[in-house]
Symmetry: C2
Subunit: 480 residues, 2 copies
């Protein structure tokens, strides 16, 4: 153990000598916020935290680590939900934080594109783009803290996926530092470029296992000045999915969000925000928060009104309210956000992020909630989310007075029961959060042999020394 | 030479014995249509043409070829424009045609998805999907002959890219036969699935160099019942790009096509279709064929009228006509299609498919046409295409009486001059057609070393024996 400490101390000294002390944090107190995950469930440690300010400094850091035999855990805003950015071998891993590599290089409204460094905070980026009359559609709860490099590395989803796609579909080009310290220079802003195999796709969603994304060129669209937001009450999740299908046809590509919430959403939101106004009276079995948006000549309010008139006449929507101001729209979205905070207030719980084919979603949620209720009768299931994408967050809240290891066991059991139902429906155990370290075992146990071999072959081809994020997504060397 | 013939004859016999004579064509007359490219510019040969009817038969064919030391050129509808599906080493390559693997496995309107085999002809697929009220947006000139596996392998573009993206964005999952004969089973219809590195992305646009795509699951959208089509006259290409930007804002995501044409388009179209009505009088410097489409409650005619009122008031559009019937819309599109046929009637010519950043497109076309005019004063440049994507087909027509080798030299010279201007603008020499064998040298000479190494590493990792389409995209073994 003493030897191991000496080795770590020597590595720290070497890193400081090679990279300069400004780039290298080694004090436990300074490193803490990088070593603890977003939910605060796990606190790890690292040999050092490296904080380069330029792509060249990232390349130097990669070379230094390779020479020293240290592996690298890349980290953006540290808002990941699956421990993809937290070391699991603190004595031989460094965290490489992109937070100081955070310039916006260009925003070109005429080109509908921007080039930004990996460390840009998503909301700051969106604001700077909005100042030019343009819009970057990626929108998720953590946008005030997450960074674009992390969004790309995890192929982040969020509330606007049904219209604009996952992060992958918003990326035009990447700059990536590779394992040999060379730079993959692919920051094109071309909308179409079909020159052979599209290598950048490999790094999107790789969670930092193949290289370090240092900058991204992204697609922009005109800013949607006109937004219509409605909260709708329905008889069931099944009806919500019927409503989604109809909205896809009636409102076409102008629908930008369609979020499902159960009645419990309001209780949970109120627990987090006691003064939150709840604009629908009564207690209905299902709710949908729906948004239509557009720019220029598009009249989204008229469209929303005509749509609701039709679906209320047909009895598909039983009650509803359209926000009459931006402030009211904001307070409708606060219900959706507050329900997350409310769950956190009830203590640690089983969070999930699963998807199934859209046509099976209602039956899946019904089966999964029944299975959980049977296995864990004292727990509460709460299912909500981006149902238009077939993606539901089916969370399980243990009784508030259940604590410690007993609580952890219930959470583990809930996950196991849920995943069994996901498998029956040929669904995904990770619709948007990724694999990281948290879901690795569940991922690997479901991985067909052909796919595993191909993943391993690609990893070895691109990162032959397994330098980047070992233990994330796959356990390839057996020692992570 | 006699020996070589014997080897080929033995290989043919072995293939027939292993795979059955129904799967294996070896007669030159039967193989001809597979060995000649779409334009008829090149006629090659092959050891055999294999025509499997199932994924299992594809796997058997792959294994047989690997054992015999033959490499495989996969082929869909043989409509490619860059010789990606035509052998360049006839005595050691077989063509594997997917044309008999052409079932539609499922169309699920409730799921907005379909699963189809690689050999499905695109237009047949679109029709079958339309019968269910759904829409598959991929639309290109060759759609009556091209096959979906080829569309995916080449990441095909077409006229609807500005709204729906390239083929890559329409793919939910793939089934691929790999070099070892195993099957990558990834025919998911999940809209969101973020389980690690997305391996299917590697095969999209790989032009058959990494595996053989045997089936595809695709995204569908509701059928756009309402379509407004307009032909607009403008003062310049510059104005056309200004118009595009305004249309992106005013018409939002409802614009589905925006094609630029020069005045010469009408002459060319009339040369191919003498009776084609030309609905705009006068001779303007630039034309745009624009389409807005939607389903359900969207009134596209009203939107088009209000849009045109604004841009004509502002003088951006100087004349225009909105199609008043489907037949009239069809005849507007015939101008666009006819101009391609008209070019073909003027004899072989330099076809290009380049892209530059949108904001530089007008200046690029001006510079490129000037450079060509200076280098080749007797030639005519014709620039048209998907300018909203920054993608222009800048073709060069030699004088009709220039024939044979002299004509080929002019075509080569035109390509060289054009590509030099593309390089100045940091553009792409292939916006949508791919690399194949035709553009390989131009691709490789522009390939940064980092990217080349990564491409080679991935190729060797996925196809270690260089079984698939050697000589396409990259020359890796020096013998292709």
């Amino acid at each position: 153990m003493a030897d191991q400490h000496n080795v770590v101390a020597e590595h720290r000294l070497s890193l400081q000598e090679r990279l300069g002390s400004d780039m290298v944090l080694t004090e436990a107190s300074e490193m803490l916020r990088y070593c603890r995950d977003w939910h605060g469930d796990v606190t790890s440690a690292a040999v050092a935290v490296l904080r380069p300010r330029s792509t060249a400094e990232v390349a130097a850091a990669v070379t230094a680590c390779r020479v020293l035999g240290l592996s690298i855990v890349p980290q953006g805003g540290n808002t990941g939900l699956v421990l993809g950015g937290i070391p699991d071998a603190p004595e031989r891993q460094v965290i490489l934080s992109l937070e100081r590599l955070n310039r916006i290089r260009t925003i070109d409204a005429d080109d509908f594109s921007a080039v930004v460094e990996a460390g840009c905070i998503l909301s700051e980026l969106k604001d700077a783009i909005a100042d030019k009359g343009m819009f970057f559609p990626l929108a998720l709860g953590a946008q005030g803290s997450c960074r674009i490099g992390g969004n790309v590395s995890t192929n982040a989803g969020g509330i606007n996926v049904l219209r604009y796609g996952m992060t992958r579909e918003l990326v035009l080009g990447l700059e990536v530092v590779l394992a040999d310290g060379t730079i993959f220079e692919g920051l094109s802003t071309l909308r179409k470029d079909n020159r052979g195999i599209d290598l950048k796709q490999l790094f999107i969603g790789a969670e930092g296992t193949l290289g370090i994304i240092t900058a991204v060129s992204i697609k922009l669209t005109p800013y949607p000045d006109h937004v219509a937001t409605a909260l709708l009450a329905l008889a069931s999740l099944d009806d919500a999915i019927t409503l989604y299908r109809r909205a896809r046809r009636d409102c076409c590509d102008l629908m930008s969000a369609f979020e499902f919430m159960p009645p419990l959403a309001f209780d949970l939101a109120r627990e987090a925000m006691p003064d939150l106004p709840i604009p629908i009276a009564g207690d209905y079995p299902a709710y949908v928060l729906m948004e239509i948006s557009g720019s220029g000549l598009i009249d989204v309010n008229d469209l929303m009104e005509r749509f609701l008139e039709g679906v209320m006449t047909d009895g598909l929507v039983v009650d509803g309210t359209i926000a009459s101001s931006q402030a009211q729209a904001r307070s409708l979205w606060l219900i959706r956000e507050g329900m997350n905070e409310g769950q956190a207030k009830r203590g640690s719980h089983m969070r999930s992020d699963v998807s199934v084919p859209l046509s099976k979603l209602a039956s899946f949620v019904s089966d999964a909630e029944a299975a959980i209720s049977q296995a864990l009768p004292d727990c509460i299931s709460v299912s909500y989310g981006h149902v238009g994408d077939g993606n539901v967050h089916l969370n399980v809240l243990p009784p508030t007075d259940l604590l410690g290891e007993a609580r952890d066991q219930v959470i583990y059991k809930a996950k196991t029961v849920l995943n069994e139902v996901v498998d029956l429906y040929q669904g995904s155990i990770s619709a948007e959060h990724g694999i990281g370290r948290l879901k690795r075992a569940d991922f690997e146990s479901r991985l067909p042999d052909t796919r595993r071999k191909l993943l391993a072959a690609v990893k070895h081809a691109v990162d032959p020394h397994l330098l980047f994020n070992p233990g994330c997504q796959l356990n390839l060397n057996g020692i992570s």
